[in-house]
């Protein structure tokens, strides 16, 4: 079939199962926006290209399918660098199509030209500059394959204008449906080595104080059920990192919750005291390990990861298994069953009682506001958690509100937590929530945002309002860049430098209304529940609920940067408790 490159691009995207595209047109990508009109793919017109990228990420987080964004060249391409880097750090499958100046103009400093593949080389799993229209079907097929297999990640496809412009003879091509990949250097391996899996099973059967340290690889591999079986069969407790919240139910008696810098005391301490850490799709990130040399000093390590470069990168494992988390866990369960299943597990009652002792002495806690004090953010999050369906999808920005959400929410379903872990991208919440809602319109979607974050990407609420994505935003307004304020309080002798954002400017309620949303403002504890209930009832418009919160509230527990996890700082009310 004869067609032009632009038509081929749309057809190639349709063939990959793309149902929604987040983007914003411009000069170089213009010819592709014409065949888009005739395509089955829905396009969501964003207000800033960064929003398109985060929406694609949110879509991928919530559905497991690759998110797709399309923007033009130059400034649009540079605007989407942040989401690419975010997706690269958090292993989010994403395909970004960028327009480029005509092939013959590349390198001439043409209008809206930038070296997009050069700029994005270090923040993509792979990228392409397509030079011939005839390459488009194969490159798109390869791009989705690379983005979604192995360790997932973002792939960028840069397309010069001439090969998609029907008025240019270089765009003429004959359509073909690619059915294979010629990628001699890319051979993602799924299965783990059987002998190493047996060794891991043996270590598990010998361990007295084992902990399952589970990361984003559980969700990426769709391994939550396998993990549940492994944990229940062995009776081993599970910590869920920031990237695996929801990968193991918080309500499960074996769940210890989030470890790391703001993890709960029991999760942090159980890992410190463990004699075996079974790391599944986790990468020993500095926010989890604290001072690496003093992290889990007594523990042997079993490390399972699809990316062999993670094995031994930070901590030398005793057993390193390269493979897909779900596949390896299933094999591990089989190997453990052959060794006797739950019967073969040693008596770990003493360990269990130590864990429950920590849980009793060091639960998450905060002091409720008194008198005319403003709201406590933790209270707002508890109320929000308790008044929304358990499968609500929660997206967050980055900072204190993100940590409180991860701490206080009860994640009992996979793919309900959408956040920026590795890169820590402020402003992620609103566009990511829109993407999640686009992927899961059946679910309630709340964005929990800070006032600093909100001001970075609030314009995408216009996208939500006009494109029909009735997300809800819980805006934790503490008038500060709160996490930075907390560090200045704790580590810079309360010398506050450039962290105060002001309490009343902007007027968030008016701003929300101007953006096409319902705007609500809450200042006292008794208003919290009713405001959430009101927001939950609104399904034809986005809602922003501004919760006016105490500025001085800090996130605890906290392992100060560079310190050992054994030196975790607990809430002031728990500091007299025996460790």
């Amino acid at each position: 079939m004869n067609m032009n490159g632009g038509q081929a691009l749309m057809k190639a995207l349709e063939n990959e199962g793309v149902d929604i595209l987040f983007g914003l047109p411009g000069g170089a990508i213009l010819p592709v926006y014409d065949p888009l009109i005739d395509s089955s793919i829905r396009h969501v017109l964003v207000r800033h290209e960064q929003g398109a990228g985060h929406m694609a990420e949110g879509y991928a987080h919530a559905t497991g399918r690759p998110g797709v964004a399309m923007v033009t060249s130059g400034p649009a391409a540079t605007n989407i660098v942040t989401p690419l880097c975010d997706a690269y750090m958090d292993s989010i499958p994403m395909v970004v199509v960028t327009g480029q100046v005509p092939y013959a103009a590349i390198g001439t400093d043409a209008f809206q030209e930038c070296d997009t593949t050069g700029i994005t080389m270090s923040v993509t799993k792979h990228n392409y500059l397509v030079t011939e229209a005839a390459d488009i079907p194969q490159v798109i097929h390869d791009a989705f394959y690379i983005a979604t297999t192995g360790r997932p990640g973002p792939v960028l496809v840069d397309i010069p204008k001439d090969i998609v412009d029907p008025n240019n003879p270089r765009s003429a091509m004959e359509w073909y449906t690619p059915d294979s990949h010629d990628l001699p250097g890319y051979l993602p391996n799924q299965a783990g080595d059987a002998e190493l899996i047996r060794q891991a099973a043996k270590l598990i059967c010998e361990a007295e104080r084992p902990v399952l340290y589970t990361g984003g690889g559980i969700l990426k591999s769709r391994g939550a059920e396998a993990l549940l079986e492994l944990a229940e069969m062995t009776g081993i407790h599970v910590v869920t990192t920031l990237m695996n919240r929801g990968g193991f139910p918080d309500d499960h008696p074996l769940c210890l919750g989030m470890p790391g810098m703001h993890g709960n005391y029991t999760a942090v301490t159980a890992m410190q005291e463990a004699d075996l850490l079974i790391a599944l799709g986790a990468r020993f990130d500095d926010r989890v390990t604290g001072k690496v040399g003093e992290f889990a000093p007594l523990a042997k390590i079993v490390h399972v990861d699809i990316d062999s470069a993670e094995l031994g990168k930070v901590r030398r494992p005793d057993v390193a298994i390269q493979g897909d988390c779900r596949v390896v866990i299933e094999e591990l369960v089989k190997a453990l069953k052959e060794m006797g299943g739950s019967e073969a597990q040693p008596d770990r009652n003493q360990w269990r009682s130590r864990i429950s002792g920590w849980q009793e002495r060091f639960p998450l806690t905060y002091e409720q506001s008194k008198g005319d004090e403003l709201l406590k953010p933790q209270y707002v999050l508890e109320q929000l958690r308790d008044s929304t369906p358990s499968d609500t999808i929660v997206a967050s920005g980055v900072g204190q509100h993100q940590m409180w959400t991860s701490q206080y929410w009860k994640f009992n379903h996979p793919y309900t937590w959408v956040n920026s872990g590795g890169l820590g991208t402020m402003g992620f919440a609103i566009p990511a929530a829109i993407g999640a809602k686009a992927g899961r319109p059946d679910r309630m979607v709340w964005a929990v945002d800070g006032d600093g974050c909100f001001q970075m990407t609030a314009q995408e609420l216009v996208t939500a309002a006009t494109e029909g994505f009735p997300i809800k935003v819980a805006l934790i307004n503490n008038a500060y860049l709160g996490m930075v304020r907390q560090w200045q309080e704790m580590f810079y002798e309360e010398r506050y430098s450039e962290v105060y954002l002001t309490r009343d400017v902007p007027d968030y309620k008016m701003w929300a209304e101007a953006l096409g949303c319902v705007g609500l403002r809450v200042e006292s504890p008794e208003e919290v529940g009713p405001a959430i209930a009101q927001a939950n009832e609104i399904n034809d418009q986005p809602v922003v609920v501004e919760f006016r919160c105490e500025a001085e509230e800090n996130v605890f527990p906290m392992v100060p940067a560079g310190m050992s996890n054994s030196d975790v700082v607990v809430d002031p009310s728990q500091r007299d408790q025996p460790r």
């Binding site: 080389m121 792979h126 001699p184």
Partner: protein
């Protein structure tokens, strides 16, 4: 000891797809992961789909396992061989122009003879020679020429292949 001596270095022979921008991907990876390249030689292989990079990396500068694993993640990198200098044959080409006034030209030609180097070009008071050899031999030659005044020197960086098996197969083996 310099890098060319093979001291404190490892040689990686990296087969990559012969596509635009692949060298930039490899070089960029070294830069952003904080690994240092001592020398780099690039050439197509007998199969035109692939090129071979011979990269000498300072082993103190980087955990070699991470270098190899991160390189291997690049989609265009097909395979990587790590060559131990003791178990490989290494060669490097040097072209050098040296000050050579007519009265001392003979001394330089002596060195050329001893090292079996080649005279490429002769000027009134300069001489251009080339030498192919192991990196340490090339180092020695360069050191000996230096006192005469090196005007210009260009080295290719080394290329290498693994040493071959010496023992013939046992004819009685099953």
């Amino acid at each position: 000891m310099t890098a060319a001596d093979g001291g404190g270095t490892t040689t990686l022979v990296v087969r990559v797809e012969n596509k635009a921008g692949v060298l930039a991907r490899v070089a960029g990876l070294f830069a952003r992961r904080g690994f240092n390249i001592e020398s780099l030689a690039v050439a197509p292989t007998d199969d035109e789909r692939f090129s071979r990079l011979t990269i000498v990396v300072g082993v103190d500068a980087a955990p070699m396992e991470q270098v190899v694993k991160q390189l291997d993640k690049l989609v265009n990198v097909v395979d990587i061989r790590e060559l131990n200098p003791a178990a490989s044959v290494e060669r490097e080409l040097m072209m050098v122009t040296v000050r050579a006034d007519p009265e001392i030209r003979g001394q330089i030609l002596d060195l050329v003879r001893i090292f079996q180097a080649t005279v490429l070009n002769v000027g009134y008071d300069e001489i251009m020679v080339s030498l192919t050899g192991s990196p340490s031999r090339v180092d020695d030659f360069e050191d000996l020429l230096r006192p005469y005044g090196i005007v210009d020197v260009q080295r290719t960086g080394k290329v290498a292949l693994p040493k071959l098996v010496k023992a013939a197969p046992d004819p009685l083996a099953p």
